[in-house]
């Protein structure tokens, strides 16, 4: 039986059906009633990965792989001894990492750090925000140059256009191509005025140049002389060649590419049917050839060309060297893709140039090899690779027929060699020079310190020297700074000690950029006076009485200390309004009055008047009894006495008056009432003195008292907005904008 089951197993494996196998294993396991915890596996991609689903996957069931086990296998080999030693050393040196912090703790730390960072980031806005808060007139949107999106404006225009049915149909079939305007970096950061002007100038120059070129081209196109064109072509070729030669020197790879291009153009020429006598032009020429010498010549030229081309195709596969020769002789047909070769006939110059090019490189390589072989011994070990390359290249005779690709390699290696040479030379120089130069530089420095306006610039080839120089100057500066700081400290010590420590801490925490308020106007921050319609001042008298009563209860001085009163000076609101009545006048008046009323008994009369006056202002009792309320009412029925007493609000018998203790003086307290209700009782917020506030009120703003320009400035509103313009939130670009 057992053997049978094993066979079955094998069958399963041969079928390689993992699922079935798993099922079977499950079933077998379920026979045994102990619970097995299986390795969890993920089926669905989720963002949240539970920590319970993570498994040590590398080692499988046996546990993780240890490095020591791996190095054991290396122990026998001598060459790898170092590796195993290194591993051991690392093992000894390394410690087990400390247990990570508890998750909430770690999170808290992370949060605090992040918050501090954002706080600092937000601090960058402080200046902008305070400037906006303080400014007396802001116009929104803040960035004045409202950029109308070009695309949007187009859409805007198209909104009003009625599309024809055909257009609509077409649109359905061919959706309009959306244009994406790639904004350059420079557009994002607005330019300064200077930069803008410079750019404009440059653009103008470019345009002028372009125009000039265009005009010239047009003129030249109109010229019909063949000779002229021929000369022109020749010149062009010469120019191109020169360029090519320069390219050889500066960028040989690029030059090679050009060469390849030339070859390509030749190949294309070859498989095209040009220069055959089958074209329309050729046939015409044939007809004409009987009589015309020139056409005969033309035809002959064409035929030779075609012959050349075909010949080359025959010899093509023979050898690579010959192919190179092909390149030399390749006819430069008209090729639109290659302006370089446009209309260039295979002249001597091209051939010369190409052969020259090859020769040049061969020579170059040879010389480079020689020189390098000489110097390789001196050069550092690192250049081993290059050397090996050179050794390979030492036998150029054997593989003279190197393909173009190999050429490239050569060029690269030779380039490297040059670099090595240069570095060696430099190193030698450096060794000799520095001591001398140091002295020189010191002198120069001295000079510099004397004449700050004109700097002598000298070549500095040695890094150390520069560093030295900087260090010296830095030290000097540091010393100076220290001295200054010490002096300052001495001066400031008493002051700083006096400062409370809390303030210092505050300064550290927050950036304070508060500015004085530019335009002072009273700022009122108080609740609205909110009423309902029904509440009209119905019982004003009652409220008046109540206020009087309440004020009376408050102001009840129990002990009057005369000395105190005498000492106190009258609180004078320091107004700027001049006092018109002067003492002299008063004295004069008094004399006149006493003369006039010499005989009358004025005193008694005056007292009478005074008492009358005070009686007039006395608040009266208010009778609140409602006749008929709770008792009979009507004519002839008297209101109950007790009721009367109960419902009358009693006025205080004596109300303090200003003229109470002032002998011969009656003060009419109600006289000012009409003005009083217009007068400000206390100094409003941003003002600190009455004088300031009065001055602010006294300064007119109207154009009846001020010139028009001043008036316009004074009435400028604090916030202006453009009608129908969306005000977008402040953007971060504002922080980057230098010129605003």
């Amino acid at each position: 039986m057992e053997s049978d089951t094993s066979e079955n197993y094998e069958d399963f494996y041969t079928e390689d059906d993992a699922q079935k196998h798993e099922k079977l294993v499950d079933k077998v396991l379920s026979l045994n009633k102990t619970q097995h915890i299986r390795k969890p596996s993920r089926t669905e991609p989720t963002l949240q990965i539970s920590e319970f689903n993570l498994v040590k996957s590398s080692g499988g069931d046996k546990g993780s792989v240890e490095i020591n086990d791996l190095t054991k296998s290396l122990r026998n080999r001598k060459s790898r001894l170092r590796i195993s030693e290194n591993v051991k050393r690392a093992h000894k040196a390394s410690h087990t990492l400390p247990k990570p912090l508890e998750k909430p703790q770690a999170n808290k730390i992370r949060r605090t750090v992040a918050y501090e960072k954002t706080r600092l980031e937000l601090d960058r806005w402080e200046a902008t925000v305070t400037a906006n808060r303080v400014s007396t007139n802001l116009s929104f949107p803040l960035n004045d140059d409202v950029k109308m999106d070009q695309k949007e404006s187009e859409n805007f225009a198209s909104m009003w256009r009625v599309k024809s049915k055909l257009a609509e149909e077409l649109e359905k079939h061919e959706p309009t191509v959306e244009e994406y305007h790639i904004s350059l970096e420079q557009e994002e950061f607005p330019l300064t005025m200077k930069e803008m002007l410079a750019r404009r100038k440059e653009a103008a120059k470019l345009r002028a140049y372009q125009g000039y070129k265009e005009a010239k081209a047009r003129r030249q196109n109109k010229i019909k002389s063949k000779k002229y064109h021929r000369i022109q072509k020749r010149e062009k070729i010469k120019k191109k060649l020169k360029e090519f030669e320069q390219l050889q020197k500066t960028n040989p790879e690029e030059a090679l590419k050009k060469l390849e291009e030339i070859e390509k153009s030749r190949i294309e020429e070859r498989f095209s049917l040009r220069h055959k006598s089958t074209g329309k032009w050729a046939r015409n020429q044939q007809i004409r050839a009987k009589y015309d010498k020139e056409s005969r010549q033309n035809l002959a030229q064409q035929l030779t060309l075609s012959r050349d081309l075909t010949q080359k195709s025959k010899t093509n596969g023979s050898s690579s060297e010959e192919e190179d020769e092909d390149v030399e002789k390749a006819p430069m047909g008209i090729d639109e893709t290659n302006p370089w070769v446009n209309g260039v006939k295979p002249g001597k110059e091209v051939a010369d140039f190409i052969s020259g090019y090859r020769k040049y490189w061969l020579e170059q390589n040879k010389t480079a090899q020689k020189s390098d072989v000489e110097k390789t011994e001196d050069v550092l070990e690192n250049s081993e690779n290059i050397d090996s390359n050179l050794i390979k290249l030492d036998q150029p005779e054997s593989n003279k027929n190197v393909l173009l690709k190999k050429k490239k390699q050569k060029i690269v290696t030779s380039d490297l060699n040059f670099d090595v040479e240069e570095t060696v030379e430099k190193l030698e120089k450096v060794k000799k020079v520095p001591q001398k130069k140091k002295k020189q530089k010191r002198n120069e420095q001295m000079n510099n310190s004397k004449s700050t306006s004109e700097w002598e610039v000298s070549l500095v080839e040695n890094g150390e020297a520069v560093e030295d120089m900087f260090n010296r100057t830095e030290n000097k500066l540091k010393k100076k700074m220290l001295r200054n700081v010490k002096q300052l400290k001495k001066k400031l010590v008493p002051k700083t000690l006096a400062k409370p420590q809390r303030e210092v801490a505050k300064d550290k925490v927050k950036v304070d950029l508060s500015l004085p308020i530019q335009k002072k106007t009273p700022q009122i921050d108080e609740a609205l006076i909110e009423n309902i319609d029904a509440e009209i001042r119905s019982n004003e008298e009652l409220s008046n009485l109540k206020t009087i009563l309440s004020s009376q209860t408050k102001q009840r001085p129990c002990d009057i200390d005369p000395e105190k009163y005498l000492k106190i000076n009258p609180t004078n609101l320091a107004t700027g309004i001049p006092n018109i009545v002067t003492n002299e006048e008063v004295d004069d008046q008094r004399a006149v009055i006493s003369e006039a009323f010499e005989d009358d008994d004025i005193v008694e009369e005056f007292n009478k008047d005074k008492s009358n006056e005070s009686d007039k202002d006395k608040p009266k009792n208010i009778n609140l009894t409602l006749p008929g309320w709770g008792s009979w009412g009507g004519t002839g029925i008297k209101v109950n006495k007790r009721k009367k007493r109960r419902f009358t609000m009693k006025a205080p018998k004596k109300i303090p008056r200003k003229d109470d203790n002032k002998g011969f003086l009656i003060i009419n307290e109600s006289a000012q009432n009409k003005v009083k209700e217009h007068m400000v009782s206390e100094v409003p917020f941003p003002f600190k003195t009455v004088k300031d506030f009065e001055a602010s009120v006294r300064a007119p703003i109207s154009n009846t008292f001020m010139p028009e320009t001043a008036y316009k400035k004074l009435i400028k509103p604090a916030v202006t907005t453009k009608m129908g313009t969306i005000i977008e939130p402040m953007s971060k670009d504002l922080l980057l904008n230098k010129n605003s």
């Binding site: 806005w125 925000v129 106007t521 921050d525 609205l528 209700e677 007119p700 939130p729 402040m730």
Partner: protein, 445 residues
Amino acid sequence: MKVKVISRNPDDYLRETKHDIHKVPRNYDPGLHPFEAAREYTRALNAVKLEKVFAKPFVGNLDGHRDGVSCISNHPKRLSVLISGAYDGEVRVWDLPQKLCLRSFVAHEGVVRGVIYNPAGNHFLTLGDDKTIKTWKTAAPQFGEEEEPVNTVISKTVLTGISHHVKDPVFATCGEICQVWEETRNEPVRTFEWGVDSLHDIAFNPVEPNLLASCASDRSIILYDTRDSGPLRKVVLKLRTNKICWNPMEAFIFTAANEDYNLYTFDTRNLKKPANVHMDHIGAVTYVDYAPTGREFVSGSYDKTIRIFETSKGHSREVYHTKRMQRITCVQWSLDNKYILNGSDEMNIRIWKARASEKLGPLKPREKAALNYSEALKEKYAAHPKIRRIARHRHVPKHVYNAQKELRTIRDKGKRKDANRRAHSKPGEVPHQPEREKHVLKEDQ
């Protein structure tokens, strides 16, 4: 004999055309104008009275919803478009100048919790109680086409609020957790959790768009950084915050509408105490929105009033109410700083002027100058009692008035009690606590 005659150049006193202003030669010597201040005061008084005469802030209302309006949102590029969601799952798109409903469709089963446009304004997102986020095209469907969302995302958690990034195609939702989504993906890009309390509002900072603020049901306001670090800090207030709004012109300032009738303006860099406490409402403040200038904000409340506050001041400068307007659910300040829109429980969306007595439409230069002048006068004489009384007088409904009176007595009582305790205990034992320090319970790191 020579006769001397007074002769004048007519150019000095005649105007060129009859449309010109009469030339009036003036001597600005202050000595010649002894009543400057008095005359200006009278003008100011007149100006403030006229202001009251012209104060008619109600512009119109948009009716059509068949249930209370739960949320509204402005179009980011067009001033004339408004979108609103209701408690019955209906979403409506409005044309404001014509007061017309352009589109209406049922977007969700249950309440629409949030509506928001994407920054380009070509799509809008709605969020409902059915745990879905739907993306809709702004362009109305063609004739015969059905209203269908461009995209529907089914969330695993309950969603209660949404806020869109200012520029990027990224938005954030809140609910059980705070999630950041990308418009093109159906799974949240990031999720942030701090504590287990559900969040009911979320707001992207428009200036520093990596900052997020949300308010949780444990009475806290939580700040997040969307870049990598996640939650930054938590402030716990005495009562729950209903809505948060960032100042669009001041990167570190945000205002929280609180359940305790107050609004708190916080400086993100110093969360220990609010920078300002704005009190005047007499019911829970349900919504707050900043003016695009960042100078003012508008708040809607459960007390059926809208109030406009200046950012730097503790009391409102304006209160709007109408007889039929019920509990305010949402308020928006239009992006040209001219109008205020609010949705309320009784199915209407109302349009108000942001400045009650402002003249709408284009003004002629002289008219503008005159208005500016009267504004300047009012500002100059603001402290004078008569002007102050007229300028600050408002008529409020009875329930507001009574509630205010009651609140005042309660506050007075508290103050009195404090004063008494202070008076009868050792000096320094019961220190005076400023209003700003009363409301923040703690700042969690």
